[in-house]
Amino acid sequence: MKKSDKKAARALQSRTFKRVLLYIKPYGLFVFSSLLCAAISVAAQLIVPIFCGDAIDYMIGRGQVDFASVLRLAIAIAVVVAVSAVAQWILAACNNRITFCVSRDLRNAAIRKIQKLPLSYLDSHPSGDLVSRIIADVDVFADGLLMGFTQLFSGILTILGTLGIMLYLNLAITMVVVVLTPLSLFLAAFIAKRTYRYFREQTEVRGQETALINELIEGQKVVQAYGHEEQSLRDFDEVNEKLGKVSLKAVFFSSLTNPSTRLVNNIVYAAVGLISALSAVSGGITIGQLSVFLSYASQYAKPFNEISGVVTELQNALACAARIFDLLDEPDQVPDAEDAVSFSSSGHVQLKDVAFRYVPDKPLIDHLNLDVKPGQRIAIVGPTGCGKTTLINLLMRFYDVNEGSIAVDGTDIRHMTRHSLRGNYGMVLQDTWLKAGTIRDNIAYGRPDATEEEIVAAAKAAHAHGFIRRMPQGYDTVITENGGNISQGQKQLLCIARVILCLPPMLILDEATSSIDTRTEIKIQAAFARMMEGRTSFIVAHRLSTIREADVILVMKDGHIIEQGSHETLMAKNGFYAKLYNSQFGD
């Protein structure tokens, strides 16, 4: 079982790796240059100690120095170093380009994908998770890729090159290095394994503390209102002390890794020193070669440590890449039909026997029939979760019906382009989404070519002109990402202005005035009324007072339309609607 899991994981890794290669392919030239430069710089770094050693061998003692040879070797070192320096820079530049460009391409692909994903996917996946894939995962992937490119290849070359040269020089000393060096890797792995427990404990306690901090600081006003400060501090101190203790263990034990591996390296160094000194005494090697061995011995462990780091990083990077590819592999929404048409609707909407469910075994809407004549005003009411917003999702074709059909002017909406269908609706939602940008840009979002007069007229109609004018930069005020500088109600007014500017043939208002106080709402209602004249409109509202004027009121409960008619007929019927209405106003 476990074996097959491992196999599957490895298969996934190799699949992911192949796809990563596809993304790297456009930068093949840079990859080639990078590998070439890595080879050059490694070769240079290995040769310089040899030249150095040779040079030392040409200075044996007083009056026994071969100046011509030393000079020749000095020039050789200078040339090699110059070539290597250039190669190092090109290597770094190529690696930067490959990683940054690949991550850019991945991010662009991801954002393009998001535009095509069905809403069912986006609604069911927390956006924080998707943001972290597109930003954090791509970053980790890029870091891993960069490290892989810079260190993996040159690390392997360094190890092979060093081994080759040492073997060429002296077998016995090479054996000492080869046998002892891996010890430091084992030691590092041993410590890591032992300290893992402490780290997990630290993470856990830190999580507890962060949760407590979040809660108490978020709720500081309540803490103060209840004079609960001392108790809070006691609670906090308890966790804080505990974290201190756990952290000390985690930090101390993990910080033992470096000194321990250094110890092994130092022992290798001493052993190499001993054996080469003994061989030097017997004339087996020269002093210069001894210096070569010592410098190799001190460097030999480095690529090993680096590579073990790189392998973890690369695995991590591949895991991140796999998460991104998962996103890119999600099936797209059904594309527009080949023969899909575009037209401007007269406002005739028919729902025939519509059935819909988000989850297969939980039917939400069933056998829904509705015939909306051009210019009619349809209000949808009902308790929370009854399917009001779902109906709007279907009208806009954010979701496709499971059964039945929805037609606009007699054309099934699956035979219209989405662009044309959605262009026929103007939509204001309870969720007041605005783009980071100026107020002007936001109002003109649907019609970037609108003139200043048109924008101001739309703002006036939405009763937004007043507060916009009072803002320090007026229409040029920049709305920040979280919209902290304007209130929820003001945002809703801007969303309304945005739709008013487009003036599409049909309107959808889903709790469009929920954050606006009732007095302002009445004024906006008037603007809507003007706007809705001659336009088919769908209104979802929880305040029944806002929908009394509708031509048809649909009362929904558990996915069914249980009552349908005008306010007067429904009140006369004294059914569910009347009960709902009276619960709001009776008292």
Binding site: C52, A55, Y58, M59, G61, R62, I77, V81, S84, A85, N96, C101, R107, N108, I114, Q115, S127, V131, I135, D139, N214, E215, I217, E218, G219, Q220, K221, A225, Y226, G227, F236, N240, L248, F252, S255, P259, R262, N266, G273, L274, I287, L290, S291, L294, R422, D431, Y445, E481, C502, S515, I516, D517, R519, T520, I522, S545, R548, S583, Q584, F585
Partner: protein
Amino acid sequence: MKYLKIYLKDHKAASILAPLFKMLEATFDLLVPIVVANIINIGIAGKDMGYILRSCGLLILMALVGLACSFTAQYFAAKAAIASTTGLRHLLFKHIQTLGFSEMDTIGSSTLITRMTSDLNQVQNGLNLFLRLFLRSPFIVLGAIVMAFTINTQMALIFVVAIPILSIIIFGIMRWTSPRYKQIQAKLDGVTGATRENLSGVRVIRAFGKEEAEVQGFSQANDSLVKKQLHVGHISALMNPLTYVVVNIGIIAILYMGANKVNGGTLLSGDIIALVNYMTQILLELVKLANLIVSISRALASLNRVEQVLDTKPSMAFPEVSAETAQSSEAVRFDHVGLVYAGAGAESLTDISFCAKKGQTIGVIGGTGSGKSSLVHLIPRFYDATSGSVSLMGKPVQEWERAALRNKVGIVMQKAQLFAGTIRSNLLWGNSEATDEELWAALQTAQAKEFVLAKKDGLDEIVEQGGRNLSGGQRQRLTIARALVKKPEILILDDSASALDYATDAALRKSLKSLPDSVTVFIVSQRTSSIQHADQILVLDDGRLVGRGTHGELLDSCEIYREIYESQFQKGDARQ
């Protein structure tokens, strides 16, 4: 630094011993090339096997002692760093608790949370690194020069020239790049923002058919990020090759000058190997130092942010004991009160005057942003009025001792905030001595008894963080019950029935009438139905008191009240 110093002083021994032991370890590192040089110069040259064996034994001994020193240093550094930051975190938390509403509004709770968590972690890591390494690297660099001088004064001059050049390259490149990394971060934040925007606005983007435009905008932000990354990357990529060149020029100089000296008999070949070793060691340490400076400057920035909070002094002072005053029939009096929030340009409340008698029910109504919450927040002195005066029980709020004042006033805020624990532990916030009977009575009044009874563990039902396992309406009723447990003389419900349905809201208002007669109740609401039976209704518009009176009076005299009322009830039957 001043606050961190307090705690470092408490761990003086550890914070001195850590760098000391680290330097001891570094000393052994510095001695290695000399021992090796002696092996060559004395052992090999003299064919002295014993000397070679002894020297290599010495190398291993040095490695072992170095290891012991290093462990000791790591322990003391970790101890000093963690203990001081733990202390600092305690101090910071304690301090944040003393900050008033006004400071909390200006700083923002999310900022404070970051300072308490990631900033302090950053400080801990930075301090740990600092204690371990900050003396070590300069010590090795200087030590290497000193060693070079002991070998040969003239050869040491190569080091004297090379080290400043290396330093200039390393620190110069770092100085150029580090502000630019911040720019890269800003560009990345832009890309993150665009991503988040695309996800949160997916319905609007599709409704307006702007998918392609969004992709274009995103890819522009992305391109500009890559351009900056490449620009900075190309420059910082210069560091390695440049230092490599300088160090090797140094080595060439050592070889060439060394050849002359060896020929003259003033230098041995082992010495040359030692000098070359020192040169490479210096490069490694300088690069380490550069990275260390990056981490430490990051930690210092975090420390600054933490200390900034500690430097923020609470703007409100409470007297130690409440001033004595005669009995008064007035519960709350506002006298020409005005309020300007810190950092705001305009007044949020202007010239408000009214008086609430003990036992009265006061309704406060007005549109969003009309100043309803601001008004009631002045009663428990969450903020100080910027003009005029607020009195409680006939005494200005500034003369009340903090605990006494907050005990008199029970406020239920708009946001229903519960804390992780149980239903009981949350209710006991109101009064830690309360009996179960008192808790149930409060729950009954708050219309919460029924659903608490329905819970498996009743009062001991677990409340998750922020009360997320309860519905909005349940949370709201529990916060009302919590305030009632306190048995306050003034009860303020700040729009705290918004998540309740109309029937529960009505039942709640009815049961509030059963509170003792002396309790003054403020009900803030947007719904006229919630307040129409109040003894006195205050109508706010844009921070001004535009109407005061009973429901009937206001319908006749206050146009804004009438408009609000009519917007919620059908026209014509407003007077029913």
